[in-house]
Symmetry: C2
Subunit: 192 residues, 2 copies
Amino acid sequence: MGRAQAFDTDRVVRAALGVFWRSGYEAASVPALEEATGLNRSSIYHAFGSKRGLFDAAVQTYLDDVVRPRLRPLLADPVAPDAVVEYFTGLRDALARTGEIQADSGCLLVNTSGAPIARDEAVRRTVADYRAELRAALGRGVDARFPARDHAERDRLAELCTSLVVSAFALVRVDPDSAVGSLDSALVLLEA
Amino acid sequence: MGRAQAFDTDRVVRAALGVFWRSGYEAASVPALEEATGLNRSSIYHAFGSKRGLFDAAVQTYLDDVVRPRLRPLLADPVAPDAVVEYFTGLRDALARTGEIQADSGCLLVNTSGAPIARDEAVRRTVADYRAELRAALGRGVDARFPARDHAERDRLAELCTSLVVSAFALVRVDPDSAVGSLDSALVLLEA
DNA sequence: GCGGTTCTGAAACGATCGGTCCACAATCTA
DNA sequence: TAGATTGTGGACCGATCGTTTCAGAACCGC
């Protein structure tokens, strides 16, 4: 048995996530990743294999620590009728906080969709799966909110809500008011 | 008077647009721009000043040659009642064409929103203005489609439609079916 | 035909890229 | 205490980056 790893993997991946989220995969440089994580590149390569390996770990942390906690109330059994409204209200608050990473950079996965790395099949699949996961969760929230409406109408509402979230994430960096406006539109649709 | 320029500026800018649209500003390399335009880097720098100067020209061409022709029927006076439905139908067709640039890369400006270059104030402004222009045009289309509905309702519908377009553009690379689904959602909302 | 001006292209510049190498440090076991 | 193993860090690798330089080409006016 040799030397023990001197860093906390989760903390390193979270630091790297910040770099990928703000800069995108392509523009995130190894020196920037070194600086954010506090590790030398040898340690990064030893632990993650490559810049892409670190990116994959960062994406997983993004899903586990950013996306899924926000979606959790929509996956409860039963889902509370207000869960979907709270989801949008919470997201709206997050995107309205100037200077914070969600207001500056929206969604790592939505941004990644428009980047060259999204042509990699594994990355493409991950982003598409995320969209499906978001859609399913919002679908549950809408079902809980409007149990009396017919299935087709609830389905359409869930699709609309999903698109409103994606749109807000896509444009928040350049037009925060419009992004918040998209979420407000969803909240109007979700009024009882 | 010296030597005449040997290339057609519009053709060069359109070729460069293809590179920026598929790769994004950051990942578009000068060699790739040379290859696509057929020009040597000296000529590119002589004509456009910098890579960023060429990008600015490409964005302008994107607005003039891609965005505005599609929006033109929504800016007519009067706007035809079906103009907005035709806008969505046409866009849906374009995003469904596998292999073509809109199906592969969506919208240059929406993709740019999530990229580091969007932090440049001029670029940020350009993308935000584009969103406003799209919104205004769709607003006109919705007003023409539903003149009898009250203003607040037409306003909401225009916001929804704008978000559905943005969402479709944002995700088309990774999930074309969902992108087309967003546009179908808009078409449902626009049924008389 | 020559001078002046502008355009083009090959080469080079300094910087940075992602990744590897190798020596040293830190650990455990015998 | 020495050997084996694993982690760390500084230096280096070959390649590529965006941009500039400078010589030659192509034009026009006198």
